[in-house]
């Protein structure tokens, strides 16, 4: 796993603000909005780190996180939404493997 710093303090605080306020507004919103809020945070984190990320991470971010707006459009179709999120989960798991000591076996 790379030890490069990819997030500035201000960017981290901004993401923290998004997460805290998302937690609060989720109490007033339909339950199925929760994944959308987490995906919004994911997008903002990705936007913040993509320029400083390693080539491997950047490939993951650009290849997968940029699919999130399209995925959000399927929100009303629960099965398609779940399938899209499952796909994203598989991709991030693959990314984790490639960053780990198991990376050579995983790629």
């Amino acid at each position: 796993m790379s030890e490069n710093w990819v997030l500035k303090e201000d960017e981290a605080i901004e993401l923290l603000a998004l997460l805290i306020t998302s937690a609060r507004i989720q109490m007033d919103e339909p339950a199925h909005y929760a994944p959308m809020r987490l995906l919004t945070a994911t997008e903002r984190l990705s936007d913040a780190i993509v320029k400083r990320a390693s080539k491997k991470s950047r490939q993951f971010l650009q290849g997968n996180i940029e699919r999130i707006p399209e995925l959000r459009m399927t929100m009303s179709d629960v099965d398609a939404y779940a399938a899209g999120l499952d796909g994203l989960c598989r991709d991030v798991a693959q990314c984790l493997l490639e960053h780990s000591s198991l990376g050579e076996d995983a790629s």
Partner: protein, 179 residues
């Protein structure tokens, strides 16, 4: 109602991605002048408008507004003024107050569309955080943002194709039949 007015209603859309193109003060004032004509229950006028143009303030607002996807050049915040509610013995739970928010919001969005601007409402934000960022008086309850700007030329977010709904799908004539 003229065909122009009907066409304005039919063609207005909620816009979630906006360009950096600025909105003039004159345009905002035109929209606010229209908003003042929005119907209000009992003509009590409990809505107050807070306009935010400053770039850094807008950035901070967006950070505590998870539902604000737009980076709009201008924001109009619709607040309920609790002083007016107290003056007229209106409980904060009075749903009619939210109808006033709705009529003002729709009037703002139609006015914006009428002068060639895009708009989009946002209610997913932390009221507590917004009150701090804008230093709102205690009597102001922030109920809805209307983002005002210009629609982005190319949008990253594809438009979902919604099922076509006609007024007939939404309307029932006269009394409902007995079971």
């Amino acid at each position: 109602m003229s065909e122009d007015a009907l066409n304005n209603i039919r063609t207005r859309r909620v816009v979630r991605e906006m360009s950096d193109e600025p909105v003039s003060r004159e345009q905002i004032e035109t929209i606010l002048e229209a908003a003042r004509w929005a119907p209000s229950g009992g003509n009590l006028r409990p809505i107050r408008f807070v306009v935010i143009e400053d770039e850094e303030t807008r950035r901070l607002i967006r950070l505590v507004s998870p539902g604000m996807f737009q980076k709009a050049p201008a924001l109009i915040l619709l607040c309920l003024n609790e002083d007016v509610m107290i003056e007229h013995s209106l409980p904060a739970s009075d749903r009619a107050l939210l109808i006033d928010v709705g009529t003002a919001a729709q009037t703002i969005m139609l006015a914006a569309h009428g002068i060639g601007l895009a708009s989009g409402p946002v209610t997913s934000y932390s009221k507590a955080a917004i009150s701090v960022i804008l230093n709102l008086p205690d009597s102001y309850s922030p109920e809805m943002f209307i983002c005002i700007g210009h629609k982005a030329e190319s949008t990253r977010r594809g438009m979902k194709t919604w099922k076509k709904i006609t007024w007939r799908d939404l309307t029932h004539w006269e009394r409902f039949p007995q079971d």
